[in-house]
Each structure stands twice: as structure tokens, then as C-alpha cells.
């Protein structure tokens, strides 16, 4: 059964005490994406609509090929949708040029990937500094902020290690640190525990939850892992390019009650 945009909002508001007149940090409206493979049109999104408030932790689940990653890439400004709108903190991403989308991504988006995607030749701190430099355009940055983020993610003693000198869990925490170092409006995580064992997955998920709680970091996370999704405030299910369900995990209900 498909949820309408109105129904989604009701479901969402029921799960969380928010200001009804507050502007959402993210809003996607009837998002459609069609890939062209030769002469064949392959629809990836068929009208995905979603709204996320500031500080919300949203997990997106669904089978492979349902459009989750496409959705995330569009929200992150890496892809332009065929139609529909994406509004991030009042800025319409879909009305922007490629350069403007890149600029918005620089200012407001942080990405975490399944494969960590750290620069292998740079240290943990070097990876963060690079993100800071891209964000600020300056070589002089905020070392205190960097220290705080690394400390929060349990990496205070790993700053001078290169990715290959770190465990998978540590690498993913560095990737998270890099994603949040510039205080993005939204942290987009694509299967952040997909390459980790159970223990490291737990640590990474704990850290993300901590970021969400302590820094009120808005997180949109794609996952196949139901336990990971259970940490979120809300779980969105996607199928065949549609958002088909929005629910509040039991843990989140307990947490907010």
C-alpha cells in the first residue's frame, strides 16, 4: 500500500514531538528518476516523497533495486532527478545548476559510504582537514572542532593513522567524522555497516546515534539491517521506486516516551 505525502506527515508527527510550523530540513516531492540504458528506459524512482525534520534520524530500507541509493544520490545533489523536487533547508536542489548543487552539497551534506571511501594516502586527520578545506576554501581550519569530533567518535588516538592502519570500524568512524566535521544539515549514510562485522557495526551505529542525540545531527541512512534501522527515529520502506511505509521503531517510541 502506498502512503500519500499527507499520510506520511501524520505518521511522522505522531512519532515525534516537533514544531508543526518548523521548516523541514529535507523535503522530497514526487521524486522520479528514469535511467536510459540504450533505448530502454529504466525507472528507479516513481514518485518518492519524504520529509525529514532537523535532528531526525531516518532509516530507509528496501530490497536491492528499489531506488534507495538513487534517492540518496539525488538528495545529496550527486544526481539530478527526472522530475520532482528536493528541498534542503528551503533551497530547491532540483532548480539548481550542477555547480550550484555541488556548492549545496559542500555546505549542507555529509556522506558516509559502505566502502568508507577515505583517501588512503592521508591520515585520519588529513582526511578531515581535506573536507574542511573543501568546505571553507581555506587552509587554516578549526583544530578544536576536529579534536572534538574525533574524540566523540573515539578516534582521539588515531589521528595520525592512515586508513590501512585502522580497523574497518575505525575507518568508518573516520568517514563519519569527515562527514560531520563541517556541521552539515544532513548526514546521508549509504549502508554504513554493510562492510563491518557485528561488533564494529554496533560501535558505528552507537556513534551515529550519539551524533544524532548530542549534536542533533539529521541522519538519513540506507540499510538492509533491521537492527540498524531500529536505532532510527523512523523507518521508511521503499519498493519499486516508491515510499511504501513509514513506521516508528519500538526503540524510538520508548526513547521518546
Amino acid at each position: 500500500m502506498l502512503f500519500t505525502y499527507h499520510e506520511l506527515r501524520i505518521t511522522y508527527h505522531a512519532s515525534r514531538i516537533t514544531n508543526p510550523i518548523m521548516q523541514p530540513v529535507l523535503e522530497t516531492i514526487d521524486l522520479r528518476m528514469v535511467y536510459h540504458v540504450g533505448k530502454v528506459e529504466v525507472p528507479a524512482l516513481r514518485g518518492a516523497t519524504l520529509r525529514a525534520e532537523a535532528g531526525e534520524y531516518v532509516a530507509i530500507m528496501g530490497p536491492s533495486g528499489c531506488g534507495k541509493s538513487t534517492f540518496l544520490h539525488i538528495v545529496g545533489g550527486m544526481l539530478k532527478p527526472t522530475s520532482g523536487r528536493v528541498i534542503i533547508e528551503g533551497e530547491d536542489l532540483t532548480a539548481m545548476t550542477d555547480a550550484q548543487r555541488t556548492d549545496l552539497r559542500r555546505r549542507k551534506i555529509g556522506f558516509v559510504f559502505q566502502r568508507f571511501n577515505l583517501f588512503p594516502t592521508l591520515t585520519a586527520e588529513g582526511n578531515l582537514k581535506l573536507a574542511e578545506r573543501i568546505h571553507s576554501g581555506k587552509s587554516s581550519q578549526d583544530p578544536a572542532r576536529r579534536r572534538d569530533v574525533l574524540k566523540l567518535l573515539g578516534l582521539a588516538d588515531k589521528t595520525h593513522h592512515k586508513p590501512l592502519e585502522l580497523s574497518g570500524g575505525e575507518q568508518q568512524r573516520v568517514a563519519i567524522a569527515r562527514a560531520v566535521i563541517n556541521r552539515p544539515a544532513i548526514l546521508l549514510a549509504d549502508e554504513p555497516t554493510g562492510n563491518l562485522d557485528t561488533e564494529n557495526s554496533e560501535v558505528v551505529l552507537d556513534m551515529m546515534a550519539q551524533l544524532n542525540k548530542e549534536l542533533r545531527q539529521t541522519i538519513i541512512m540506507i540499510t538492509h539491517n533491521a537492527e540498524a534501522a531500529a536505532r532510527a527515529d523512523r523507518v521508511i520502506e521503499m519498493r519499486d521506486g516508491h515510499v511504501v511505509r513509514s513506521s516508528v521503531p519500538l526503540g524510538a517510541v520508548r526513547g521518546h516516551s
Binding site: 545529496g76 555541488t102 552539497r105 551534506i109 577515505l118 583517501f119 594516502t121 591520515t123 588529513g126 573543501i134
Partner: protein, 392 residues
């Protein structure tokens, strides 16, 4: 390591080294070849003008270093100094007075041969020693003067300047000393003296012997005339042009400029070398950065996911190329200096590493690198971020 550019450069040391060497090769081409051409030209021009005789008298037609070396009748030397009068053998000859102000003349044969050292060319003078020393301040410091070439058993004698004596090798590859044998005009000559300062060619043999070997009997390449006072040179030149029209008469002081004109084809060659140096730098960096971009496609995707603009990506790649080029330029300078030292120690070639040409070579190396990186940089900047970050 916190710098992406430095990290990228150190990540692939072999490729970086090859790129640096490639740029250095272009720099060496420019600095060493230009330095060699200019060094040889300056050295030869300096030695050509390092004579006391203020005036040089040459045969008519084009003045060329590569022409027949013995084209001017040797008797002009005597005619300029003593005048010409009809004789029983030549009763119809037009009488000409001695050129006023000329106090000495000498006929010189000049021949260019492949260097005995095997690299480049060297000049050989054929001269009449007695009249030659009256027109120059040549002084034999070791051994004895050159013979007249007519004394039996002394036809194949040579004198060399101090530089040649110190840097040259004899036919057996041994250092030069008195009595050493060197090859001149395809014949072995015995070194009988060392002279100073360097005047004209470094190796001098009797003019008579040169005439016999080249088949230019009684001919020379040019005649030098020494004036009573240097300020009389213009007057002497005017008189020579009046009495001996159809020949070239030039002031010795004009010779360096004449050399530059005579070596115009060398300038074209140098332009080709400079162009070649630039092309090498461009191609080396283009290939290196292009393969780098393909290899780092995923990393470019990461940069894009972090919000790096096209300009940031282009500048990152351009800075890396410029840094590699700068290192190539430095290596090129070191190699050029080493090449200069080696050439000057093992051959009689002179290399002038002028600041101007070092700067030009540096600019060519860095400009070539930056231009070579433009296409890979633009290609990287225009990669699709999703495809790039998914690249394996």
C-alpha cells in the same frame, strides 16, 4: 601526511620519478643544447677577435664557415703590406701602393674538422708563424714555435693552446704533452709547442702543410692586417675596399656579430630543441596525469561527494602537475650542470649556462607540465560523481 597533492605524488614513486625525469629531459635539452651552441659560439667568437690585427681581409662572395677554406690567394698579404708592382713575369699587373697605416699582415688558413674527441667539431689554423706573431700576441710558453712547413721532417708539426693541452688527448687516448701525436686533416701531427693566449683555432699547423693537404696551393682563408694604431682601422678598411674591390674587408671587432649572423641556422636548430623540450614536457605530464586520473577516479568521486567544485579538482591536479614539473626542472638543472662539467672535462666543447636560458627552460618545463595536465584535469572535473565514486 595531510596534503593530498604531496600524498598523491608520494603514492606512486616510480611514476612520479618517470614524470620528473621526463620533464628534466626537456629542461636538459634546452639548457644543454642552447648552452652548448652558445658556449661554442661565444668561445669561437672570442678567440676569433682575440688578435691584435684590427682588419681582416677575406675573399668575395658569401662568408661561410662551411665553404672551401682556402679560396684567397696568399699573396694578398704581401700586396697589402708592400704594394704591387709589375714584374717581368706579370708585366700587365696594375700597380698598387702599400696600404697606408698597415704595419704587418699574415695569411691564415682555417679548416673545420670533426673533433678528435669524437663529439662536435674543431677548427685548425694553418699559419705562417713568423708573420702571425706580428699580428697577434701569441706566445709559445712550452716547447718551440711552429716551423714554416717546408723544412724536411717538420711538415707535420702542430702547436696547441693551453686549454687544448690540458683537456685534450693524443691518438692513444693519453693526456697531451710535448711530443704527443694528434690527428689533423687525417694525418698525425706532433705537438711541438703550447701557446697562449687562445687565438683563432686551438690547433695550429704550418699553412704550407695545410695547403698541400687540402690542395689549395698558395691560397689561404683570410689575411689579417695590423695597423700602426687601432684608430687607423677604418681608414685601412676604406683603402682596402678601394684598391681590392670584390673582397670582404671587416674590422676584427665586428667578428662576434658576424659569427652570430653566420650561425643563424643554429638558432633555428635551437628553436626546434626548445619546441621539442616543450612537447616532451607536455606529453610526459599529459600521460602521467591521465593515467593518474583513471587510477584515482574513485578518489575524484570522493572529492565530488565532499562538495569539491570543478575548479578545486582542476586546481588540485594542476598543482600536482606543477609540483612534478618544478621537481623535473630542478633535476634538469642538476643534470645540465653535471653535463656541462662532464663535457668540458672530457671534450673541448664549451657550455654556457646563461641565467636567461635557465629561466626559459624552467618556464618551458613548468608551462609544459601545466598545459599537459589541462586535459586530464578537465576530464576529472567533469566525471559523473556517482559513476566516479562507484569506480573499481
Amino acid at each position: 601526511m595531510d596534503s593530498l597533492i604531496a600524498a598523491n605524488i608520494s603514492q606512486r614513486p616510480l611514476r612520479t620519478a618517470i614524470s620528473i625525469i621526463g620533464v628534466a629531459l626537456g629542461v636538459v635539452l634546452v639548457t644543454l643544447f642552447v648552452g652548448l651552441a652558445r658556449g661554442m659560439m661565444h668561445d669561437a667568437a672570442r678567440r676569433q677577435s682575440n688578435v691584435d690585427a684590427e682588419v681582416r681581409f677575406l675573399p668575395g662572395g658569401n662568408i661561410s664557415l662551411a665553404g672551401n677554406p682556402l679560396m684567397l690567394p696568399q699573396r694578398y698579404a704581401d700586396a697589402i703590406l708592400n704594394g704591387v708592382q709589375p714584374t717581368a713575369d706579370e708585366p700587365d699587373i696594375e700597380p698598387k701602393p702599400p696600404i697606408p697605416g698597415v704595419i704587418a699582415t699574415t695569411a691564415v688558413g682555417e679548416y673545420v674538422q670533426s673533433s678528435v674527441a669524437g663529439i662536435g667539431f674543431e677548427m685548425v689554423d694553418g699559419l705562417d708563424y713568423k708573420s702571425f706573431v706580428q699580428c697577434t700576441h701569441l706566445n709559445v710558453t712550452k716547447g718551440r714555435p711552429l716551423s714554416d712547413g717546408e723544412t724536411p721532417g717538420r711538415e707535420y708539426e702542430a702547436i696547441v693552446d693551453r686549454y687544448y693541452a690540458e683537456s685534450g688527448k693524443d691518438v692513444g687516448g693519453n693526456p697531451i704533452q710535448l711530443g704527443s701525436r694528434i690527428t689533423v686533416l687525417g694525418h698525425e701531427f706532433t705537438i711541438v709547442g703550447v701557446y697562449e693566449p687562445s687565438v683563432l683555432a686551438r690547433v695550429k699547423i704550418p699553412l704550407r702543410t695545410m695547403q698541400q693537404l687540402l690542395g689549395g696551393a698558395e691560397n689561404c682563408t683570410f689575411v689579417m692586417a695590423k695597423c700602426e694604431r687601432p684608430e687607423l682601422a677604418d681608414q685601412v678598411i676604406e683603402q682596402l675596399r678601394r684598391y681590392y674591390p670584390g673582397n670582404h674587408v671587416i674590422a676584427t671587432s665586428e667578428i662576434p656579430a658576424l659569427y652570430s649572423q653566420g650561425l643563424a641556422p643554429v638558432e633555428i636548430f635551437l628553436d626546434v630543441v626548445i619546441g621539442l623540450g616543450l612537447v616532451i614536457s607536455v606529453l610526459v605530464i599529459l600521460l602521467a596525469m591521465y593515467t593518474t586520473i583513471i587510477e584515482r577516479t574513485r578518489e575524484i568521486g570522493i572529492l565530488k561527494s565532499l562538495g569539491a567544485s570543478k575548479r578545486f579538482i582542476v586546481m588540485t591536479i594542476e598543482k600536482e602537475a606543477a609540483l612534478i614539473s618544478a621537481m623535473g626542472v630542478l633535476l634538469g638543472f642538476v643534470a645540465a650542470i653535471a653535463g656541462k662539467l662532464w663535457l668540458e672535462a672530457n671534450t673541448r666543447l664549451m657550455v654556457d649556462l646563461e641565467i636567461k636560458w635557465l629561466v626559459i627552460a624552467a618556464l618551458i618545463g613548468i608551462f609544459g607540465g601545466v598545459v599537459g595536465a589541462i586535459y586530464p584535469a578537465l576530464r576529472a572535473a567533469n566525471l559523473d560523481p556517482v559513476e566516479a565514486i562507484s569506480y573499481d
